[in-house]
Every structure is written in structure tokens, then in C-alpha cells.
């Protein structure tokens, strides 16, 4: 049995069991390993992807619930101007230490700036608080968001 999944603009017939959380299909079946598993509990944000433009944690919800939706992972974030800008801003501000939370933060920032091009401090906090960074790169991530919004 297979279901149809649209990821990064391409439609795939995937054969993972329908109850498989999206992240395992992305990583293991489609080989898109940029999305990271941090908790499997929707508590840390490492696994964030875009679903129809909204940030969604991919570590719990079953793949079958994503049929007919547009999924964007970190691998194709740079397909939009905003995504590219966000990636560049993260590089320019060195907004990472170990880098494990980075993909999720880039995805979340891209979604934020897509809906709110000039976010105030509260919107930034609200968008990023679901994401844990244990290395303490927060100040740089906040600068990266600011920089990407300025451009």
C-alpha cells in the first residue's frame, strides 16, 4: 500500500506504514536527512517542517495526515527568496554552535518572515520559543532573524 506525498514540490508514492510519523518517512524513505529528531514529542522544534506554509513538528503526526498537503523541508527552504535570506542571515551572524537545532530554526524563521515580514519582538519570541537550543546560540539566532527581516 502506498500514499502520495508532496515534498519540496515533488510528489512521491511512499510505502511506509500510514501511522509512521512524517519525520521517519522524510529521513528514512525519502533520504531527506536535514530534518532532525530531537524528542519525538513535539517539545523541542528540531524536526520543524513547513506544511502549506505553516510550521509543523514532524515527529508525531502520522504521514497519512499529510496527504494532499505541500510539505517543505530544510532541503528546499532556499527555493524562496525569504528562505535564502534566512539561511544567509544565519551564516552572517554565526547563529549556530553544534547545529542540531539550526534546521528547525531556519524553517521557523522562514515561516515567520513569510507571514510577518517585519515581526516585533513578541512575534519572534512566540515563533521561536517552541524551539530548544542547548548550546545557547539564542542571541545570534535573534540577530539572524532581525538581519533577515531588514533585507
Amino acid at each position: 500500500m502506498s500514499l502520495s506525498l508532496k515534498v519540496n514540490g515533488k510528489t512521491h508514492q511512499v510505502t511506509s506504514e500510514p501511522d509512521t510519523p512524517l519525520i521517519y518517512v522524510l529521513r528514512d524513505e525519502l533520504g531527506l536527512k536535514g530534518t532532525k529528531l530531537g524528542c519525538g514529542l513535539e517539545q523541542c522544534g528540531a524536526c520543524a517542517v513547513l506544511v502549506d506554509g505553516e510550521v509543523v513538528m514532524s515527529c508525531v503526526s502520522a504521514v497519512e495526515t499529510f496527504e494532499s498537503k505541500e510539505i517543505t523541508t530544510i532541503e528546499s527552504i532556499a527555493d524562496t527568496d525569504i528562505g535564502r535570506r534566512v539561511q544567509d542571515a544565519f551564516v552572517e551572524t554565526s547563529a549556530a554552535q553544534c547545529g542540531y537545532c539550526t534546521a528547525g530554526l531556519v524553517v521557523a524563521t522562514t515561516a515567520l518572515l513569510s507571514s510577518t515580514p517585519k515581526p516585533d519582538k513578541d512575534s519572534v519570541t512566540q515563533a521561536l520559543t517552541p524551539h530548544i537550543c542547548r548550546c545557547g546560540s539564542h542571541p545570534r539566532v535573534l540577530r539572524a532573524v532581525e538581519r533577515a527581516a531588514e533585507k
Partner: protein
């Protein structure tokens, strides 16, 4: 140690495919050591960044530099590499002169090219390296290249991180690879009695492999999600003998004299000398406490193991591949050379996380399923409940004060061991410190902790005050047999010792009606410490007046009293829910000659936020049924909603040695927060973490 063991230039720098290859035993754990090493090679040899790479850190190939810990990488690997590079540079210049004429001083080096002044004679430095004898020793008397501006190298790997293409251990894949998960006992004392045979049979029919060795139980299969589901089924089929459960001791009550093995600490080193009685009626006395805390890596630990013939090939994010190799070889009775470990990055670890334990567990599964690559991953719950924690600690301080100065000081620090890493030692220390060995049918360990008698080691790191107190009495109190397994976490004892001393200094300064900076200054004569405090004071003077309800606190420390000097100022307020809101932070630091200004700043900021997280949020909870802190809800940490504006000021010392800074800021950060909290509320918080609940409870005792 790095230079003594690896005294040749070619131990650290070789040439491959027209590029410089830098060799190191230190590994990237988010602290940017590889960026700093490439920068050092670039500074001394002027070769462009694109032509310098770092060799894989693999046993049998990389220098054995022990463990990447203790903020030592810059002073060990960095120093060795700088000496190798300066020797290489001067030797190559001399070689060019002898081969092509001119005096050494007539040759100029820039952009990796040697040029004879006034001629067009140019030699690519990298091309010349093979002409130098392979056994050319490193000499220590070559001067580092002068520099005028702060270096800002680009962080290695960063572009891949933002693109999602940076390879972590979890992303490894091999043909025929199986995914594996461990089925955990409810807690560390439980023993596996039985597994429902029917469940085992069904899982095996479905092509899952079940590996059992005593109470160690794991399951492997071709696809990750089905393995996770099968692991749950297997867990539900297990019958555990709970052995009475975990002890529900009040760990702070246990951290006391009657339970301790005691050592008088002299010159930051534990000794057998008699411990003098403390002054029975000091002018000031206070006890500071930290609960068990966890490293809490964002990524659960993982490893890839492959057992073929009698050889074990392992990929791990361990901080110490050589000691891990010996510990694993000893566990299996293998020759050390038959185990090869390659470091692959995991997420930030902040000390001894589950990395080594996961690596050994992958090996156990791989041994049972030979010729099959095994990628074993811990779950979030595994990492939270089974990593070795930072020990609970207590520090009892006392002081006498005369004419505004501390005249006598006493500190008793209490803790279980900070030394739980697998490394060779008596009673098969290495195997005994690998978690799974405790559960095997023929168990190895755990063994009782032995006191760490090194200088500034373990719980007594930064126990010695940085201040000029005429008399001090410092005592290390090792308490064993506490409920939870412990090991090394970022800063070891220093974070709590600095919290205690710097809170205590604040209390005494206030009682003396002296400003906290002036009070510290009056007990210091190190000009670099005074410069840090002056800069901090200058920065504070530029701050606007404090709003109502905002408190400001400062603290100062020098890591191990010999590494990076850091002054921290924090402004915070406490909201209506009694939650601490961090508003502003200033960090002033002197780390000697700066190698990577941005990387240094990142370490100081990161240390600030981890220290803030420890002091405000983090505490491991448990009861007789096991660890209760099993996810990020039951073990909250700092998030983006409590990040202050942080300003970092670096005091560069181009002519002084570079020192490590990865653990320099958490201690003074915790103390500055405690001191600011006192100014904001009048509450002197002495037991971490300063949660809303703890603050409200403290307020009711006023």
C-alpha cells in the same frame, strides 16, 4: 600532554592533495575547535582557508589527546599546533634560503607563498613541505606571528548546518544497516526476570532481531519506525524485578560530613593533611546547593557499530575516542587495535552525555549480529533518564571580616563523583563505567567512585577563592552511594563553587555597604582581573538607571583560577508569577590571545545561557519508580522567551597564551543572577534552581 606525546611537526601538519591537513585529537562539539585550529594554521603559515582541512579524528590515526573536555582544547591541541606551525614556517624559510639563496630574513611569506625580496622567485609553501624530513621535531622557541586586528574566521560547517546537509551521527547510512533501540528497565536497580515468549516469537517472525544479555535488552530491524514500535511491544512484554526501587533519599541531607571522605585542599589539590576545625562562630556563613542536573543534549545519543571477523568498527560522538576504545576492547576481551573508532558529530554534549554508553550498546548489538552495520539511537526518554547526571552538590561557606576585608575563609564542598567517563583504570574502570555492562548477565561494575586528586579537578574546581584572603580552609567531601549515577558536566564543581563564593561576596559587600565591584577589587591584585572589573564597571556606568523592580547583580571568576577571566553583570526582574525575567547582560572576558573572536563570544554567550538555564530551571526529579524527568516538560530548560540582550566585550592579549573559554561564563552568570535577584526582591536564593515555586516559598519565609 599533546606536545610531549606528539613531538613531530608531521604529527600535527601534513600535506594531502596540495592542501594542508591539520591533525588533532580534539573534536567539534559545537565549540568551534576545528575553526580555531584552522585559524591557527592560517595565522602562522598564511595559507588560505580553502587549502587547510582537518583530518578525520579516528583512533590509530589522530593524536591521542584524551578527552575533549575541561576547556583544554585550545591550550593542548591549539598550543601544539601553533608550535608545530611556527617551527614549520621557520624551517621552511631556512630551507628556501639554503636551496635558493638569500638570507632567511630575505624571504617573505604571504598567502602561503614564499618570495625572495626584490626578485620574482616564489615558492608555494605547501610544495616545500615534503622536502622537510618527516621526523622534524617541534621546537618551542619560534615566535607566533604578530597580528594587529582581531581574527574573525568563518565557522567551519556553518553553511551546511543552515542547509541541513551537515552530517550528524544520526544521519549515517550503510547498505544492509539495521536500526536498533534498547529496551530500558524502569530504573537502574531493576533486573529483567522474564519476557513473554509469545511476543518474542512474533517479533522474530516479523524479522526483528532481539539481543539479550542478562538485563540488557535491545531490538533491531531494517526500518526505524517499525523498530520503535516493536521496541514498545517488547518493553510491554518484560517482567522486571524492581529490587525495592530507587532510594528516595533527601540528597541534600546526605551531602554532609558524616557521609564524606574528606580531603584538605591545598593549592587547589586534595591532600591527606589534617583538616582544621572551622571557626565555631564566623561572622558570615551560608550553604549553597545544586540538585542533580542533566546535560540534556538536544539529540539523543547514537552510534554506528559494525562487527566483522574479530574487528569492531565504530562511529561515535564520544568526546574521548581513545579511552572509549580501550574500555570497549576490555569489555569484550579484544585487542585494542581490533577496535577502531571514528568521531562523527552529535549535538552539543556539555560533558559526559549518553554518547559513550550508546556506543557500547551499539557494539553489543553488533556483536550479536555480526557483519551487519547497526545504527543504535537512544530515545529522548533514554537520554533524559539514563545519561550520567551532574552530581547534586552543596557548598558550606564561612568567613570572618575585619575592617571591611575578609580575613579568614572556609569552604566545604560536598558531592558525589564528577568522574564517570569510561577510561582505563584499576578494577576495570573503563568497562565498569559503561552503562550496559551493569546489566549484562556477567556484569562489570558499577564500582565505587575514587576521589579525584588532581589540581582544580572534580568538585574542587574553583573551590580555591580567586581573592586574597589571608587565611583559607578548603575541604573536599566526597559522598558516595547516592541515588543516581553521575559524571562530568560542563564546569564540573566550578559552577557551584563560583555561585557560592560570588553570592557570598555579594552578601558580605552589602553588609559592609561597599559596592560589589569595589569589594572584589579590594581583594584582588591581578592586573588582568582588575582590568576585567574596570571594564565591567565602565560598561555598567553607561547603562540607564534601573527601573522599579529591576535588580542588577555582578560576579567575577577566572576558570580554574588560571584560564579565562570573566566578569558578568545581569539585570532582571521578577514578574507577577514569580518568574525571573532576564533583561540585560554584560560579559567582559580576557582569554589571552584571541584565536577566533566570534567563536569566543559564542562560547561566552552559550555559557551564559546554559548557566542561566541551570540556575533558573533545571532539576532532575526521581522517586522509587525511577527518573521522573523524562522529557522537556518534566525537565524544563531556558527557551527564547527568557533571553536577555547580551553584550560581550573581549579584552585581547595578543602577547599572552590563548586559554580555553568554553566553561568560563556559566559560574559567574549563575552568581550574577542570584545577586541581581537579591537586589530585585531582597531574597537570597541559595538552592538551585530559582524557580517561581522556590522564589514564592522563599518569600514566605521572610
Amino acid at each position: 600532554m599533546s606536545l610531549q606525546s606528539y613531538p613531530l611537526i608531521s604529527d600535527w601538519i601534513t600535506v594531502r592533495d596540495g592542501c594542508l591537513l591539520v591533525h588533532t585529537g580534539k573534536v567539534d562539539i559545537g565549540q568551534r575547535i576545528s575553526t580555531a585550529l584552522v585559524q591557527i594554521a592560517h595565522e602562522e603559515l598564511t595559507v588560505s582557508w580553502e587549502r587547510i582541512s582537518i583530518a578525520p579524528v579516528r583512533t590509530g590515526h589522530a593524536p591521542d589527546e584524551g578527552i575533549t573536555s575541561g576547556s583544554n582544547s585550545i591550550e593542548q591541541s591549539g598550543h601544539a599546533l601553533r608550535c608545530a606551525a611556527t617551527t614549520l614556517r621557520d624551517r621552511l624559510i631556512a630551507l628556501a634560503a639554503s636551496q635558493h639563496g638569500g638570507d632567511s630574513s630575505d624571504w617573505q611569506l604571504s598567502d602561503g607563498v614564499l618570495q625572495l625580496k626584490g626578485t620574482n622567485h616564489r615558492i608555494d609553501l605547501i610544495d616545500l613541505i615534503p622536502s622537510l624530513a618527516a621526523d622534524t621535531p617541534i621546537e618551542l622557541d619560534h615566535l607566533p606571528a604578530p597580528r594587529s586586528t582581531l581574527p574573525h574566521p568563518k565557522m567551519r560547517g556553518l553553511r551546511d548546518m543552515v542547509k541541513g546537509t551537515y552530517a550528524f551521527i544520526h544521519d549515517l547510512d550503510r547498505p544492509g544497516m539495521l536500526h536498533a533501540r534498547v529496551v530500558r528497565p524502569p530504573h537502574a536497580k531493576a533486573v529483567l526476570k522474564d519476557i513473554t515468549a509469545d511476543t518474542v516469537a512474533k517479533l522474530e517472525q516479523a524479522n526483528f532481531s532481539i539481543v539479550r544479555d542478562g538485563s540488557f535488552l535491545a531490538i533491531a530491524g531494517a526500518q526505524e519506525w517499525p523498530v520503535i514500535k516493536a521496541a514498545t511491544k517488547l518493553a510491554n512484554a518484560c517482567d522486571w524485578d524492581l529490587q525495592g526501587g530507587l532510594p528516595e533519599d533527601d540528597v541534600f541531607a546526605k551531602l554532609s560530613l558524616e557521609n564524606a571522605q574528606r580531603f584538605l585542599v591545598v593549592d587547589a589539590t586534595p591532600t591527606d593533611a589534617d583538616i582544621p576545625e572551622p571557626d565555631p562562630s564566623p561572622d558570615h556563613a551560608a550553604r549553597f546547593e545544586r540538585p542533580y542536573q542533566m546535560h540534556g543534549s538536544l539529540a539523543p545519543s547514537a552510534a554506528l557499530a559494525h562487527w566483522t571477523d574479530n574487528k569492531l568498527t565504530l562511529h561515535s560522538h564520544s568526546q574521548g575516542i581513545y579511552p572509549l576504545r580501550e574500555s570497549i576492547a576490555d569489555s569484550f576481551g579484544l585487542e585494542t587495535e581490533h577496535v577502531e573508532i571514528t568521531h562523527v558529530p552529535g549535538s552539543g554534549c556539555y560533558g559526559h552525555s549518553g554518547a559513550d554508553d550508546a556506543a557500547f550498546e551499539a557494539c553489543l548489538v553488533a556483536r550479536a549480529l555480526p557483519d551487519t552495520p547497526i545504527l543504535l539511537k537512544w530515545t529522548r526518554e533514554d537520554e533524559h533518564a539514563w545519561e550520567p547526571y551532574a552530581p547534586a552538590m552543596a557548598v558550606d561557606l564561612a568567613a570572618n571580616v575585619t575592617d571591611g576585608k575578609v580575613t579568614a575563609y572556609s569552604a566545604d564542598v560536598f558531592s558525589d563523583t564528577h568522574r564517570g567517563r569510561p577510561r582505563p583504570g584499576p578494577n576495570r574502570t573503563g568497562p565498569a563505567r559503561l552503562l550496559a555492562n551493569h546489566f549484562r548477565a556477567d556484569p562489570i561494575g558499577p564500582i565505587p567512585a575514587s576521589p579525584n586528586l588532581g589540581r582544580h579537578a572534580g568538585m574542587h574546581r574553583n573551590l580555591e577563592p580567586i581573592y586574597n584572603f589571608p587565611k583559607s580552609r578548603l575541604v573536599k567531601n566526597l559522598v558516595r552511594d547516592l541515588p543516581l549515577r553521575t559524571s562530568a558536566m560542563r564546569c564540573l564543581g566550578a559552577a557551584v563553587n563560583i555561585l557560592a563564593l560570588e553570592s557570598f561576596m555579594d552578601e558580605i559587600a552589602r553588609q559592609q555597604s561597599v559596592s560589589p565591584i569595589a569589594f572584589r577589587r579590594s581583594h584582588l591584585d591581578d592586573p588582568r582581573a582588575l582590568a576585567v572589573l574596570s571594564e565591567l564597571e565602565r560598561q555598567i556606568e553607561t547603562r540607564p538607571d534601573l527601573a522599579d523592580g529591576v535588580g542588577r547583580g555582578i560576579a567575577y571568576a577566572q576558570y580554574k583560577n588560571q584560564m579565562t577571566r570573566v566578569g558578568v553583570c545581569v539585570e532582571l526582574t521578577v514578574n507577577d508569577h514569580a518568574e525571573v525575567q532576564l533583561l540585560e547582560a554584560l560579559i567582559v572576558a580576557d582569554a589571552g590571545r584571541i584565536v577566533d573572536a566570534d567563536g569566543l563570544t559564542a562560547q561566552l554567550e552559550g555559557g551564559f545561557l546554559q548557566g542561566a538555564s541551570w540556575v533558573l530551571y533545571e532539576q532532575v526529579d526521581w522517586d522509587r519508580d525511577g527518573i521522573q524527568s523524562r522529557d522537556w516538560d518534566s525537565y524544563p530548560v531556558i527557551r527564547f522567551d527568557n533571553v536577555p540582550n547580551i553584550k560581550v566585550q573581549l579584552l585581547d592579549q595578543p602577547d599572552m597564551p590563548s586559554v580555553g573559554a568554553g566553561e568560563a561564563s556559566p559560574g559567574p552568570t549563575m552568581a550574577a543572577i542570584a545577586n541581581a535577584l537579591f537586589e530585585a526582591t531582597g531574597l537570597r536564593m541559595r538552592r538551585m534552581p530559582f524557580t517561581a515555586e522556590a522564589i514564592m516559598q522563599k518569600a514566605t519565609t521572610l
